[in-house]
């Protein structure tokens, strides 16, 4: 039963992605989590499937679908591996930034390989001073002739150690009001002065590599500048708000569905006091709550993304969807562990991973409290 009317093409996409996930990702989902490894060969295969550039027009090597289809993709991957979905989601951020703000030459240079699975993308905004505090940027870019010299450090960057093409924001001056003016640059792996640093050991969303990017006297040509000089705050806000947050919501919907399906399966199979757990009213309450959260999260997420696909701004709806789904996923995972009793705490079962993954979705793309600032700001305006 579907609660949202997807069109036939979208339904076919969901079925075909599900088949791919069940055959290619499910067998290695536990290994991805336990070893915190990013499966590069699988990522290349996903590029051939059209997943890596699903929302990119065909002329740039993409599949030519939209953001709703991207959400279906992320939800299906996240149902079994939220960590891998996170890596794909972040790759899409780099792709979207180049697609939305790049010159024709930049799009033709980078997008075909990023879509085909030959290269991995990333977006590096967050610094030790904070992620959502763009005005606190400490990394700098200095223009020398036609070239730029960049310095600074980025942290909590997903795909930091695997990305071939990173979109990086740095401070390049001040605007008329004295506020930092940010500029964006496309930096390729191997560029001298640009290298991954410390790798974080996360407890959730493992398989998406996260760490520092060190920028030390990194020389790039003027052709690396993404968008207009001093206007990269828009790149960061638009990409994170319009692509990142709905992406995190879609990942959380995948976790919510995992909690619902796992709790139903366990409740039907586990016999206690001579009857299946599913017959116990307290267990039914958990199942009901898991379903309510899944369906509500799904509605909010696909509504926000549907708005984006019409070309309208969806920042507020995306913030609402991210707020609701990430927090709900934590509660649903906790309830699923409750339902499973001791089994819920055993790593042979995936419920513990759902909780760790759900917790890790909260700061990604802005914490719950930042979402509340966005939502309240829009409501009070």
């Amino acid at each position: 039963m579907s609660i949202i009317q997807f069109d036939k093409k979208q339904e076919m996409l969901r079925r075909t992605v599900r088949e791919f996930v069940e055959k290619e990702i499910v067998p290695i989902a536990t290994e991805i989590d336990e070893q915190d490894t990013f499966p590069e060969e699988l990522f290349q295969k996903m590029g051939q499937m059209g997943y890596n550039g699903i929302f990119v027009p065909r002329e740039y090597g993409g599949a030519g679908m939209g953001y709703t289809e991207r959400a279906i993709l992320l939800e299906e991957i996240s149902r079994h591996s939220a960590g891998l979905a996170m890596a794909v989601m972040t790759h899409h951020l780099g792709v979207a930034a180049i697609l939305d703000f790049g010159t024709e030459e930049q799009k033709k240079k980078y997008l075909p390989d990023l879509c085909a699975g030959k290269k991995i993308g990333g977006l590096a905004v967050t610094e030790p001073s904070g992620g959502s505090d763009l005005m606190g940027h400490q990394s700098t870019g200095e223009k020398i002739g036609e070239d730029w010299v960049l310095n600074g450090r980025k942290c909590f960057i997903t795909n930091s150690h695997v990305a071939d093409v990173s979109v990086v924001t740095v401070r390049t001056g001040e605007d008329a009001k004295g506020r930092p003016a940010l500029s964006g640059f496309i930096i390729e792996k191997g560029n001298e002065g640009f290298a991954p640093g410390h790798k974080e050991n996360k407890f959730g969303l493992r398989g998406s590599i996260m760490g520092d990017l060190n920028i030390n006297d990194c020389h790039v040509s003027g052709e690396a500048l993404l968008g207009q000089e001093g206007k990269a705050a828009k790149i960061a806000l638009s990409t994170i708000g319009g692509v990142g947050r709905p992406g995190m919501a879609a990942i959380s919907v995948g976790i919510l569905r995992a909690c619902l399906e796992e709790s139903v399966k366990f409740a039907k199979e586990r016999v206690i006091y001579g009857k299946p757990l599913a017959k116990v009213p307290a267990i039914q309450s958990i199942i009901a709550k898991n379903r309510i959260d899944y369906e509500a999260g799904m509605l909010l997420t696909y509504q926000a993304i549907g708005i984006k696909d019409t070309g309208e701004r969806s920042d507020t709806q995306s913030a609402i969807a991210k707020h609701y789904t990430t927090e709900a996923a934590v509660l649903a995972a906790k309830r699923t562990i409750d339902l499973m009793g001791g089994y819920g705490c055993v790593n042979e079962y995936p419920a513990g991973r759902y909780l760790r993954d759900a917790m890790t979705t909260i700061p990604s793309g802005g914490t719950t409290q930042i979402m509340e600032l966005v939502i309240a700001g829009a409501s009070l305006a």
Binding site: K8, K9, M12, L13, R15, T16, E19, F20, Q48, M49, G50, Y51, I54, R58, A63, G64, M65, E69
Partner: protein, 269 residues
Amino acid sequence: MKERRILVCIKPVPDPEHYDKIGIDPASKTLVRSGIPAVINPNDKNAIEAALEIREYWGGIVELVSMAPPDAEEKLREGLAMGADKAYLLSDRSFAGSDTLATARVLAAGIAKIGSFDLVITGSESADGGTTNVSPQLGEMLGLPHVCNVESITPQNEEQWQLNVKIEEGYLKVEGPTPMVVGVNDKINTPRYTTVMGIMEAEDKEVVIWSAADLEIDNDKVGLTGSPTQPGDLHEPKLQRAGKLLEGEPEVVVDKLIRLLRQAGVLNA
């Protein structure tokens, strides 16, 4: 090199993952499939894959043919998304209830209307009926050589196919002329995944829909009236499980267990 025109017969079947929800209507003695999603018969995906591989090597076109209700167009689009070029849906209210013979008759009429071709590939077996009848019946009706349970198809030259056929305890090498009807089994290949690009391209591919009138086929040759197979009485087996606790020392329990298994006919007496 001669390009090949390959026709692939496909059938929508209830998703095998939902077989536990399938029931039997005691009045009509037919399967109750309502609420169960349909999928392309898994073995027919092997047939599509075999055709696509031949096309990739030799060039040509791959066209799908299916006798099914109008909503099966969606399943044909899935086959087109895998990479087939065009599809024909043979759909008419009078086709409902066709057994394998009547089904083969409709498919043969559709294929005759399509015209010339080099090869017809079918799955050897459907996941729902499982009769393995349609492929050979189709070959007979088209007056063409036909082989089932095929595990490899190689164009030997412009006029000849070489087939590897699985038989009990071995294989049979068969050579046959163009055109012919080949039923492939699920060992022949692993069907490819459908790409997102394939889904997008399938939208613009043509699905031709033909009715009984288009096929100029008599109503009494199809559907229930045209089907010699009539199910007799149907009995739904009642599956009951009952636990039996064997107690005592291990040796005693094992003796009891062996005795019970012999009584049940599981072990030889």
